[in-house]
């Protein structure tokens, strides 16, 4: 059971890190390229949100395999676990997205 909670935390923070790190460093690249950094960060935020979840889950196929087994072989426990993992990754990505999104309205720091 402990591994389950640990995996939830892993998924949450990995997707959060992918979002924040990707956007921050994308912003640096935009500055170097002569593009508006904040706008680029927000564009990136929307683009990489779904990928952050996928990265956190370690690729799409193992998750889908578990979902398939859960649905067709009646392995409900595995199915529920996988859904919770996906939800925690989704939550991490969404919080990362919101953090970057609210940065825009913060005005100059």
């Amino acid at each position: 059971m402990l591994a389950f909670y640990q995996n939830i935390l892993y998924n949450f923070f990995i997707s959060l890190g992918v979002m924040i790190g990707g956007c921050l460093f994308g912003g640096i690249a935009a500055t170097f390229n002569g593009h508006p950094p904040l706008k680029t960060m927000l564009d990136l935020c929307e683009k990489i949100k779904i990928w952050a979840i996928i990265v956190a889950l370690g690729g799409t196929f193992p998750s889908f395999k578990v979902l398939e087994i859960g649905i067709f072989n009646g392995e409900i426990r595995g199915l529920v676990k996988q859904v919770i993992y996906i939800l925690s990754a989704l939550l991490g990505a969404h919080i990362g997205y919101r953090l970057i999104y609210y940065l825009e309205s913060s005005g100059p720091l």
């Binding site: 460093f25 500055t31 508006p36 950094p37 904040l38 960060m41 005005g107 100059p108 720091l109």
Partner: protein, 149 residues
């Protein structure tokens, strides 16, 4: 052997984090400047189109107008100060653009600018005219020097 690598890693991480922090603090300013640049570019495009149309209509009327003013400024000093002096001179002459060439009074331009003392950033600057050519483009050469107040 391991220690230099860890030092390099720390320096690299510090550099990247520094870059990210600096970017985080300046991104609003940068975005605003890019926006202003974009707006100004659009304004220039818009005004270019209007000017082109205006030129076409002037050509049809066969009247000669003053289209531009070129200021040749001789000033030995800071380039930003030079730009400010040029802006100041342009301010005095800006009304001439668009006027009929026959209506331009060369002596008046000379009297306006020659031996004029302008104050820019607490510095008194004396202007003297080298030459003045009045045509579709008014060419004016001005010597500027800082005088002790």
């Amino acid at each position: 052997m391991k220690r230099p690598y860890s030092l390099i890693a720390f320096m690299g991480l510090g550099f990247l984090l520094g870059l990210a922090t600096m970017n985080l603090f300046q991104m609003h300013t940068l975005d605003r400047l890019y926006r202003v640049q974009h707006q100004l570019t659009n304004q220039i495009i818009d005004k270019d189109i209007k000017l082109e149309r205006l030129n076409d209509s002037i050509k049809k009327n066969n009247t000669v107008f003053v289209k531009d003013i070129k200021i040749h400024l001789n000033f030995e000093g800071n380039l930003l100060l030079k730009d400010m002096i040029e802006d100041n001179i342009r301010f005095f002459l800006s009304d001439l653009v668009g006027k009929e060439l026959a209506d331009i009074d060369g002596e008046m331009i000379y009297k306006i600018l020659n031996n004029r003392i302008v104050e820019i950033e607490n510095k008194n600057i004396n202007l003297s005219i080298n030459y003045l050519i009045i045509s579709e483009t008014i060419n004016i050469s001005v010597n500027a020097r800082v005088i002790d107040s």
